[in-house]
Symmetry: C2
Subunit: 688 residues, 2 copies
């Protein structure tokens, strides 16, 4: 270990408990909640195994009117919930870490999709989540009931083995709704002054401390500045609240601003962007503080601990990207740290109520169901076979790394271009997307360390080349490319005029080809980062750019990565026009035409069009090879597999997952099909 | 029974099985799938008990790449799934009905949020559901595998006790993707001609028939016309397909058009709108046919059976609204039939991945967890107490019905206006919303039948009136109204100028108040039916109307009721302008001003503004009464409850649910809090 990092491995006492070190996985969603307790336990335990001294589960509703269905939460409503979550506490303990439970109430933000309960709030509010539907103003009885349920859930959590019990006060949920003067208009002693607005939170802290304070550390997560997106609370008021509650709190867990700001993507927020606010909390407390910042640099982590501003390095996304980050620091294996890209694919999956996933770490969430460990790889049954991986994009790079780790001694990763990375070669050069390059960078380093893997660039292989290569197994990872042929989703006919010289694909633009005139339309039917990225690239070169999209908003996928609002503001700030709900059906010299969402004709002048319409797998090599089984047999090739975008163009995380999976399962009977995974089922035992 | 309806109670043989009558609950989603097997079983069994001769569960994925997470499906992937769903087959059988299992593959529409599998499709397609992500073109091995998995799932279904096994071929899913020449571009014998495009479906029918054909009826659900929203299949081609497959099929289950068309709301589709297409299928087959049409009229049902066009009356929404429809027809209790409103609240809840719900039938989905039966009511513990229900809107009407059925002998339902219905008085008079009036109409009839309930209209009660009324229990159901004070969601400041004479509320417009000038802006921050309804009302009177909305689309909630696209087309057709992404912050004589989504200033001229911004509970009476406990005690009032929009303004279904719940639980210790409901938990048994 670098001695400068030793400070990160000091134990920290929080109330009656002691964390073994300063690495702390703050609560974050997983898609497992209390409905997949074994998957949850394995997902959290791997972080404890990787060295995180504190590991928390996600938000854990205390009340039926804090029901998060259809989102997946760790309900703590009854003893059956507690029995399930106890598996996590036990698994985390087995690796010497402390387990945290983030007890929660969403108030007006609760979804109540299962319970059908009326939502509650300090004042009667229109919801920003459920339209056409308002919340009930909480009565005194409601306040007392929620506090009682919080204390009951805390005792349940303690009995289930949790060491740290939260009073969750951040992110625009119930306590923040009480604390914001905008959402709290009460006149009954729970509103008005800071003390009044903070009273519900204070009383709940007291109730929880009284319920479990001798047995568990009591943590609270607060929004230091910006009130979780609600207006009206700034840092000065927070410091007052912290002083007011400090005796009741063993650990302060800090967030800043709204969720999209606090979990800001790398496009818009650098590492540690929260520091100007979170580091001021020390002014108000000497108790342990944990703050996040998408930290992946051990030097920076040590520096901020040394500064005294925080005691624990909090992480959600970085702990998903690399559960073994603490151990790698402890062992001085810094170049093995898988840095979070800050692309929020984890949140994209969680926001859509899916099983968690990570672009950097394909094993995230697969610990139980597929038995995948992020750092351990079983030796393959066939490691002596020579494997040729064609294409060093995300899928090919990942597959080669996994094959190397599984003991294959002759893996050749052959790339046609001069550098590896596939689509990341140009994606990482789009404005604001630089950190996505970490996907390539990490794999480039690991590939260099694997003695069984050789990376060959600048060599484009034909089918004949592959047949003559001498490989036993061939993995095709040739990716995909943007169709410039006018095919677009949901339409029979192609865009006429797509073959004109003024029509470009994103790859052509990325490769340096530029329109002749200045007036450019970027036509988007894809919905994610490519169209705004290309538009920003061209706008930065003084082209006059308008994005025309079929969607009702620019880049709807970016809403699921929490980037939508800021991406649109950024595009607007750069002077890019946006026209929504429009379909282009024809291109002529100097103009495009089509129709609006009602089918009314529409046209616009332009010098050039970039078609971000639809991708197609570059699978010609795969088809040529598999189309001639006799030739494969003659060449001694036992199997030809295809992975990543060459199977189907998808977002990068799925290509990497695909490559990883094939690497893990290449010695199974039929590696083309994913092995069945373990599932969790409802309890049918009579009487339960 | 009316003898004209006797034909509906004839048994119908389908392959090796016989349905006891012609009432058939077609497969439809519930939110229970295979994750809440007991809730599922009770939800389906109540329909069998109510007289439906065939009862099906929802779509049941056969493959891991037909994973519907985050939506809730009845997975049939392994024996544990089958054990759970067997509860439904058993429960349905216990009432003498047949149980159907709709085996399913979504192809390019699958979500795969849990499995992370690549989506498969006949050709590589951009998904209209998952953006930025395409499907894999199925190989011959994929085709064979899906067919094998279908047969395995069919055997599992048979062993679980299901009588009817589906090959689901409708609604834009995998088979429709094969059948549409737009989505199927294959050249390998599974594309091209009708026979080629239908081959995958035919082979799967053969595989299922061969797997279970002697033991189960084989049903197939097809889209007769419009290919489930995919272009390219019309009725003539369907007739060809039906003839081709007729030997393999025991029951033809018909849909028409896209899902939003087939499950069309009453706003845009009358009862039986599918008939022009579905009734032509008889030309191609003599086998039993089931078709839907949101039928609630027994005369019409008998007429279409008598015509020979169909053999079974299919229902999804009507069977949710009234599980006992068949028995009510059999017993001649036609005025007790709860007619579906066609508002698609069931789909709104299901589309958002929630527990099912129904505006007409508050017990839908509550059979297991709350033990509610749609027709049976336990006698209350306190039926001799006099109950005063103040307000005959949705919540008050429903509560009074339930109290009457629970044996209360002195329930007074007192309404201030001249007619009952609450907000439905004006809502049902908005263009296209007439069928929502069924909510009031059904309750008006039932209230008239209950000897213990008296309805009094035209009497507005003050707190003093209530105290002097002589009631033991008071239920406040005074509803809510639209704020005209400029308060809007998510903003501190009110809209300036909201007090000007040219500013109207929706209720004022509904009550006949009209703007002075012709140029009207309807400002919508609510997101559902009120703003377009008011706009259409005014546009019909030759006002020039523009809807200005903060949302990126007009009426986002209507997308969840499947109405969004047709509502927007309807608004456009009526000449109403729509300006999106705009916030109004001030109103002056002759204009409004505000800003766009980027914060750029915006203004527009207008003569008048209707503010569809935010509602407020009309709870003054409740607050006055509960604010003086001594007066309540003096008056002998034991309890004052509040229900419906007076608690929190919500959509009508939730107000009705609220009123129903209080009626069911009014004799519990604390009726203000919903009783805990039974839940289903994951199985923690070691080894399972």
């Amino acid at each position: 270990m670098d001695p400068r990092h030793a400070i990160l491995f000091e134990p920290v006492t929080i109330g009656p408990k002691t964390l073994p070190n300063r690495f702390y996985q703050v609560p974050h969603a997983s898609g497992f909640g209390s409905i997949k307790p074994r998957t949850q336990a394995a997902f959290r335990a791997i972080k404890a195994e990787g060295g995180w001294g504190g590991v928390c589960v996600e938000y854990a509703p205390v009340s039926r009117d804090a029901d998060e269905v259809p989102a997946v939460a760790a309900n703590m409503w009854d003893d059956a919930d507690a029995r399930g979550l106890a598996l996590t506490a036990e698994a985390v303990h087995s690796h010497g870490a402390l387990a945290g439970l983030e007890l929660y109430h969403g108030g007006a933000s609760s979804l109540n999709g299962e319970s059908r309960a009326v939502r509650i709030a300090p004042s009667q509010l229109a919801s920003q989540i459920q339209f056409a539907s308002l919340a009930k103003e909480m009565t005194a009885a409601d306040i007392a009931r929620v506090q009682r349920e919080w204390a009951e859930a805390a005792r349940r959590g303690r009995d289930a083995g949790f060491d740290i019990i939260y009073v969750y006060g951040a992110h625009g949920y119930l306590f923040t709704q009480f604390m914001s003067p905008v959402t709290n208009r009460r006149t009954d002693g729970y509103g008005g002054s800071v003390a009044g607005r903070g009273r519900f939170w204070m009383e709940t802290l007291e109730a929880v401390r009284s319920a479990v304070g001798g047995d568990c550390a009591v943590a609270t997560r607060i929004c230091v500045h910006g009130a979780g997106g609600l207006p009206g609370i700034d840092i000065e008021e927070t410091l007052e609240l912290v002083k007011m509650a400090d005796d009741l709190v063993d650990l302060w867990d800090l967030t800043v601003g709204s969720w999209p700001e606090d979990s800001g993507t790398s496009r818009f927020y650098p590492e540690g962007s929260q520091r100007p606010w979170s580091h001021r909390v020390r002014e108000a407390t000497a108790k342990p503080i944990v703050a996040v910042g998408r930290y992946s640099s051990p030097d920076l982590m040590a520096e901020i601990v040394r500064s005294g501003a925080v005691d624990l390095i909090g992480a959600a996304r970085q702990a998903i990207a690399d559960p073994f980050l603490p151990r790698k620091i402890a062992e001085g294996r810094l170049d093995e740290i898988r840095e979070c890209t800050g692309s929020n694919v984890c949140i994209l999956r969680e926001e859509a109520f899916n099983h968690v996933g990570c672009v950097q770490n394909a094993t995230a969430g697969e610990e139980y169901r597929r038995g995948w460990h992020p750092e351990m790889f079983s030796r393959a049954a066939n490691p002596g076979l020579a494997v040729l991986v064609v294409g060093a994009g995300p899928a090919g790079m990942e597959c080669a790394v996994v094959l190397g780790r599984r003991g294959f001694s002759a893996v050749h990763l052959v790339e046609a271009e001069a550098e590896i990375g596939g689509r990341l070669r140009w994606t990482r050069r789009l404005p604001t997307l630089g950190d996505w390059g970490r996907i390539t960078d990490w794999r480039a380093v690991q590939l260099g360390k694997l003695p069984g893997v050789e990376v060959i660039t600048g060599r484009r292989l034909s089918a004949a080349d592959v047949l003559g290569y001498g490989a036993d197994i061939v993995v095709i990872a040739t990716g995909s490319s943007w169709r410039g042929d006018g095919v677009q989703p949901g339409r029979v006919d192609r865009i006429s005029g797509a073959g004109l010289a003024q029509v470009l694909t994103p790859e052509q633009v990325a490769a340096g080809k530029r329109p002749a005139g200045r007036n450019v339309i970027v036509y988007d039917t894809d919905g994610y980062y490519v169209a705004p990225g290309v538009a920003e690239l061209l706008a930065g070169e003084d082209f006059s750019v308008t994005v025309v999209t079929t969607f009702p908003v620019l880049s709807p996928v970016s809403d699921e990565t929490l980037e939508g609002e800021m991406l649109r503001a950024d595009v607007h700030r750069r002077g890019i026009g946006v026209r929504r709900g429009l379909t282009i059906t024809g291109i002529e010299v100097g103009s495009v035409r089509g129709h609006d969402e009602y089918g009314e004709p529409w046209s616009a002048e332009c010098d050039a069009v970039v078609l971000v319409t639809q991708q197609a797998s570059d699978d010609r090599l795969y088809r040529e090879l598999t189309g001639d089984e006799a030739a494969l047999a003659r060449a001694g090739i036992q199997a030809v597999h295809v992975i990543g975008d060459a199977v189907a163009p998808r977002i990068i995380s799925e290509a990497i997952f695909d490559g990883h999976r094939l690497g893990r399962e290449i010695d199974r009977p039929d590696p083309s099909q994913p092995a069945p995974y373990r599932r969790e089922h409802p309890d049918l035992t009579p009487g339960r």
